[in-house]
């Protein structure tokens, strides 16, 4: 190794305000870092991530000819990109940067033991420096992104996303499993807030979608296979019995949700006058409601169950839907009595709360029941329905006669979503809905690049919220397509051809289908598909597979440093 290539490591230890500095003795960590092999410079910062801190890194790279940088601060999950680009701006390949997490792993978890936290921080820095000395520059190859998208699901979310992408001048393939577009919108009666019939809005949407030259609609179609990666997906769909292949740069999942059928609850399925809110909408739409004199609605049927493995989530829309439908019944049949039995009226925001108050003023009766003491529904000998409920606000048990009981049941994930999640290799959350990359700041992204989610497929939400998310997904999908190219992951696996014995272990184990055998039987890694998980490298019996940026030598150096060696 000549003098120029010799590692010259700079170490920056962050106070993170008081997050690290009030527990860990930062100056001591800096002094320790200065004694470590290959370290040419070390300093402390109040916030290394501030503009000032980043400038200091860049200055030090130039002033001290640093060729490796270690920042000891918080989590790489949020801050690594920032520090990496500071290195790049100072002319250093960004993979010559390494981060030591002394906040989450030291000051936060050992807040009551400052001495031990400081010692651990020093060890963490020693490990990072040991690895940094062996870091090598890596490249992120660029690939082209096709300006076309596959949108899966032709409900209001999918149609909105398709229209936005089409307006952004991308080609869109809209896939709908049913014969017609519209999804759940087809079954609804009137829509909040203007009491417009859903059919009017649906017709406008379908017409805009079908007349848009950038959108190709495939109804009666299901997705059979997805190959490829961001920029170059190939979706095989079954379109009216024939297989068709579609090429796309991005994919949006807008498959919506089903409504829970509460079989066996509150006489549902036994008495035909016990129905769900969605069935009520259909009856009103088809003018088949008859003339009910007394309607009782029950909220949280099969939702907010508060038990292990139960449907514990709140379905968000049911309270507002019940209020809307109660007002509709009152309008159609002013003499009808309508009661809503609820646990909490979750009419959040501005308009729903307004409607709730309107319903209260309109003689809709609101009766609050307790989770531990739910209502009981029984069929009377004369065939009518009777609902017994303990009203906690007046502390009395009431018996209500009803000729119609309407159950507010939650939105639930479709049965076939599991299959789609496997095809796309994107996860579902505990409650069955598609799981986004970050619940707070990446609500419509998947962790997998180039695939996005919107609408009720993500979680129960209103039409307006689904539409907002659909536009969001169209924005996110539009970014790589507008640029026309994307940088790919540099931390990938690579195969030493001389060592590969064509056993195929890696091919079977790769969760991303990124490894195939070539004509000679040698394992080949597709760099774009590879996510750098390391499963292949760990399981290769011949040690023929190594990971970029996580080579055996680098990992061993870290481990040796952790054990006190050098």
């Amino acid at each position: 190794m000549n003098e120029k290539d010799k590692p010259r490591i700079g170490v920056f230890v962050c106070h993170c305000g008081v997050n690290i500095g009030s527990i860990v003795n930062v100056p001591e960590v800096v002094e320790c870092a200065k004694t470590l092999p290959n370290v040419s410079y070390a300093e402390e910062n109040l916030y290394t991530c501030s503009s000032e801190g980043l400038s200091k890194i860049k200055e030090a790279i130039k002033k001290h000819q640093l060729n490796r940088i270690v920042v000891a601060s918080c989590t790489p999950r949020t801050h690594e990109p920032l520090f990496r680009s500071a290195c790049e701006e100072a002319g250093l390949n960004k993979y010559l940067f390494h981060m030591a997490n002394i906040r989450e792993q030291c000051s936060w978890v050992h807040a009551k033991e400052p001495r031990k936290a400081t010692e651990k921080a020093k060890e963490t820095v020693r490990m990072a420096v040991a690895k940094a000395a062996l870091l090598e520059p890596q490249a992120e190859p660029e690939i082209d992104v096709q300006g076309s998208a596959v949108v899966i699901g032709g409900g209001v979310s999918g149609m909105t996303a398709a229209l936005s992408l089409a307006n952004q001048q991308f080609k869109v393939y809209l896939i709908e499993k049913e014969k017609e577009l519209g999804g759940k919108l087809k079954e609804l009666y009137k829509l909040y807030p203007n009491d417009k019939p859903s059919s009017e809005i649906l017709d406008e949407y379908v017409q805009s979608v079908c007349s848009n030259p950038n959108i190709k609609v495939y109804t009666s179609s299901t997705v059979k296979q997805i190959e490829g990666f961001i920029g170059n997906f190939e979706a095989s769909i079954n379109h009216e019995g024939r297989e068709q292949k579609l090429n796309a740069g991005t994919i949006i999942v807008a498959t919506g949700a089903d409504v829970f059928k509460p079989r066996g609850m509150y006489c549902y399925g036994e008495n035909k006058n016990v129905i769900t809110q969605l069935e009520l909408e259909r009856l009103m739409k088809e003018n088949k409601l008859g003339e009910p004199k007394s309607v009782v609605m029950i909220q949280c049927v099969g939702a907010r169950e508060e038990r292990e493995g139960g449907r514990n989530y709140c379905s968000r829309i049911c309270c507002a839907v019940a209020v809307k439908n109660a007002l509709q019944i009152k309008e159609l049949f002013p003499g009808a009595e309508v009661s809503i039995l609820y646990r909490d009226m979750q009419t959040y925001g501005k308009e729903f709360e307004e409607q709730y108050q309107k319903a209260r003023g309109n003689f809709v009766q609101f009766i609050r029941y307790d989770f531990e003491n739910p209502p009981e529904v029984c069929t009377r000998p004369d065939g009518g329905l009777s609902v017994k409920v303990h009203d906690i606000l007046v502390n009395a048990t009431l018996e209500l006669d009803a000729d119609l009981v309407v159950l507010s049941t939650p939105l639930v994930q479709w049965e076939d979503a599991k299959e789609l999640s496997k095809l796309l290799k994107v996860p579902l959350g505990a409650e069955g809905f598609f799981l986004e990359a970050h619940v707070k700041l990446r609500p419509v992204d998947f962790a997998t690049d180039g695939i996005f989610v919107c609408g009720a497929a993500h979680s129960p939400k209103t039409i307006a919220e689904s539409i907002a998310q659909a536009y969001a997904a169209a924005s996110r999908a539009g970014i790589p397509m507008a640029l026309g190219r994307v940088r790919t992951e540099a931390i990938t696996a690579f195969v030493d051809e001389d060592l590969c014995t064509s056993c195929g272990t890696c091919v079977k184990l790769c969760p991303y289908n990124a490894i195939r055998k070539d004509d000679e039987g040698i394992a080949r890694v597709n760099d774009v598909l590879c996510k750098g998980c390391g499963v292949c490298a760990a399981s290769c019996p011949e040690k023929a597979i190594n990971m970029r940026h996580f080579s055996d030598a680098q990992v061993l150096a870290e481990a040796t440093a952790a054990l006190g060696g050098s």
Partner: protein, 438 residues
């Protein structure tokens, strides 16, 4: 025809809209009224339901905005006159003088250290102090000081000039004048966020009279490690750790007689989060949340409330207190309420009360609306063109809205709407470009 977009408001919604557009190659001008972007999210300690550190997940995005070659960051600036139509708006931006040269200032903080004048910090909700020359908070973006001319001794009395003497970069410039910048943009995205209702208007709760009655934004700063108490859970009257804390929901919101009948949508769950934080900071402290209806409607929120009850022992009481009284000697509080479950009148003693006030649209919205011929509702929320099908569109083509200024919503919803507004702006540019090619 312009291909750039103006974003008004540098909170999480404005930041997200800006980054989505900038990342697709669109030039963005991001205007923020205060000296730093970050908005309300920067003030929060943790976020629900994941308990992520708020500034930690926000700061990378703030800095990305600052460093992005397609983002022109205009902090300490306000939107003035707006003319034109979609595809071609001419807007005037008033850039207030910082009296600090933004190019020369390195953010070292020497001037701040030496400045003799203490001013209540807006960022810390007045619970801590800043100086007359200041940076709003430690992670401020840009990290450039500003002089508050209303409090600076030089501007008020013509003396001092210490900051100028100590600045190692010679960045202090008392002669700086307001600047007017004219921009040509294709679309405008408004993301002005919210204000906190002043709970002293509900005198029965004693806010402003009783030291240990605080509101939830103040509490976020108290519990935050970078806040005025360094994250120690203490009550204002004596700096001691409270042994019992009561949260009161719907203070000024859901009011049938007051100004704000709407529900702010986030309070039930942030109170749950703040309760969990109390139990983590001080496991002996009892926490109660008094609520009318528990509204935990977002993804994972109900599960979060269940966890607060079962794992953290937070006690939820269905009640809307009638009043709060104070023991003048101990400064302890008594909360008087009717237990909705039993109808009994009860009193609960507490060392500290956190009020959850209505979150209301910015007072400025009405002025902005006039400048752009936009419709606002009676509270000052910008009106959507169609609440159902076009939530981010306004009555003026090419002007879009997102985040809390459209109606109450939480962070993920604001982020989604912000990306959505960016899509609408991108559509406007793409359609105009296509037309121009014809």
């Amino acid at each position: 025809m312009s291909k750039s977009v103006l974003v008004v408001g540098g909170g999480i919604a404005g930041i997200q809209a800006s980054l989505d557009l900038a990342n697709r190659g669109t030039k963005v001008h991001l205007v923020e009224k205060t000296p730093s972007i970050g908005g309300r999210m920067a003030q929060l300690d943790k976020t629900f339901p994941t308990l992520d550190c708020s500034i930690c997940i926000l700061a990378p995005k703030m800095i990305e905005c600052f460093r992005h070659p397609n983002v022109n960051l205009l902090t300490y600036s306000e939107l003035g006159e707006v003319k034109g139509q979609a595809g071609n708006f001419t807007v005037k931006i008033l850039k207030k003088p910082r009296y600090v040269d933004a190019v020369k200032c390195t953010g070292c903080g020497t001037c701040i250290e030496k400045c003799p004048i203490k001013v209540p910090s807006e960022f810390d909700m007045g619970l801590g102090n800043r100086k007359a020359v200041y940076m709003p908070f430690k992670q401020a973006v840009p990290l450039v000081a500003a002089i508050d001319p209303e409090r600076c001794l030089y501007f008020t009395k013509g003396v001092c000039k210490i900051c100028q003497k100590v600045c190692p970069s010679n960045a202090i410039n008392y002669e700086q004048k307001p600047e007017e910048i004219e921009l040509n943009v294709s679309s405008i995205i408004l993301a002005t966020g919210f204000d906190v209702f002043d709970p002293s208007r509900m005198s029965e709760y004693g806010y402003g009279r009783f030291k240990n009655v605080v509101h939830s934004m103040e509490f976020e700063r108290i519990i935050c490690a970078s806040g005025p108490t360094d994250g120690h859970l203490v009550r204002p009257s004596d700096g001691k750790e409270p042994k019992s804390v009561v949260f009161v929901q719907c203070v000024g919101s859901r009011s049938q007689h007051g100004d704000f009948p709407f529900c702010s949508s986030v309070c039930c769950v942030y109170a749950t989060k703040e309760s969990i934080l109390i139990r983590e900071h001080a496991p002996e402290t009892q926490v109660y949340i008094m609520y009318i209806d528990m509204r935990a409607v977002g993804k994972g929120f109900q599960e979060f409330v269940d966890r607060a009850k079962k794992e953290y022992g937070v006690k939820y009481i269905k009640a809307h207190p009638g009043g709060i009284t104070e023991d003048p000697t101990t400064k302890n509080l008594q909360i008087h309420y009717e237990d909705m479950k039993t109808g009994e009148m009860k009193t609960l003693d507490a060392d500290m009360v956190v009020l959850c006030p209505a979150l209301i649209p910015k007072a400025d919205n009405k002025k902005l609306a006039r400048a752009m011929n936009l419709e606002v509702d009676e509270f000052g929320f910008f009106k959507s063109k169609n609440l159902l099908t076009a939530p981010m569109d306004t009555n003026v083509p090419g002007i879009y809205i997102c985040g809390y200024c459209q109606c109450p919503k939480d962070i993920p919803e604001s982020v989604a709407q912000a990306s959505g507004a960016a899509a609408r702006a991108a559509e406007t540019i793409a359609c105009a470009t296509k037309e121009a090619k014809r």
